[in-house]
């Protein structure tokens, strides 16, 4: 893909980096002059995917989460990758309210939130290898509203 602009970050699977990741993406996409609503949708989705990588991919152990963000015209592409344990059953993981961490008060709504707020969400995962979540969203420019 020929992106107009792109960026890549690698960071520790530390829960403090959930805020870092979503703020970094929102700062990057400001170049597209997005609406507040689009910024909020993208920040929330990035937070969900990064949280999944930290608590499910690495299960609290140290690892590296990779974040890619690029755009072509008005469409934003985001990839969040971990080299953690992988998802056994992707379809099940995407089901609303499905959670493997009920004791930790996880609602099981992460993928549903991503699917609601983004245009497309793709999940590729292999047990013992890791998980890659790809999301896209066409944004409205504030200036065109």
């Amino acid at each position: 893909m020929n992106y107009e602009n792109k960026m890549k970050l690698s960071f520790n699977s530390d829960s403090r980096n959930e805020a870092f990741a979503r703020i970094a993406v929102s700062a990057f996409i400001m170049q597209l002059d997005p609406t507040l609503s689009d910024i909020s949708d993208i920040k929330t989705s990035v937070s969900e995917a990064v949280t999944n990588a930290i608590i499910h991919g690495y299960e609290g152990k140290e690892g590296i989460v990779e974040l890619f963000c690029g755009y072509v015209e008005n469409t934003v592409y985001i990839e969040i990758t971990d080299k953690g344990k992988g998802i056994e059953n992707i379809e099940k993981a995407r089901t609303p309210l499905f959670t493997t961490k009920i004791d930790e008060e996880r609602s099981g709504m992460g993928f549903t939130v991503m699917e609601t707020f983004m245009d497309t969400v793709t999940v590729e995962s292999e047990k013992g290898v890791g998980t890659k979540v790809t999301m896209t969203k066409k944004i409205d420019k504030t200036s065109s509203l």
């Binding site: 929330t44 969900e48 609602s107 709504m109 992460g110």
Partner: protein, 116 residues
Amino acid sequence: MQLNFDKVNNILIVSIEGEIDHHTAEEIRTRIEDEFYSLNVKNMIFDFSKVTFMDSSGIGMVIGRYKYVKNFGGKVVVAKVNETFDRIFKISGLYKIIKCYETLDEAVSAISGVIK
């Protein structure tokens, strides 16, 4: 993230100032339960007017407190929820068990009505 507490009758009003995510949710739940216990209250209102960000961790946090308060026979409601957080609560089905009010006064009256 900052937490402010207020007590009205036997209701604990929790105002969360800042971001609710997986990182902050743990501290939020511990501090709320400490306060709920030490103030000897029965019910809880979440004031969302000063929340600047929330992902699905917020759903788990609110439902967790609902279960906690229910053990004491109390009620939990949310108030002053903006449009973005309202969407997150709606898709999760949270409103099936927890009511939402536009103002704190309405939330307090609703809970007080229940107690009488």
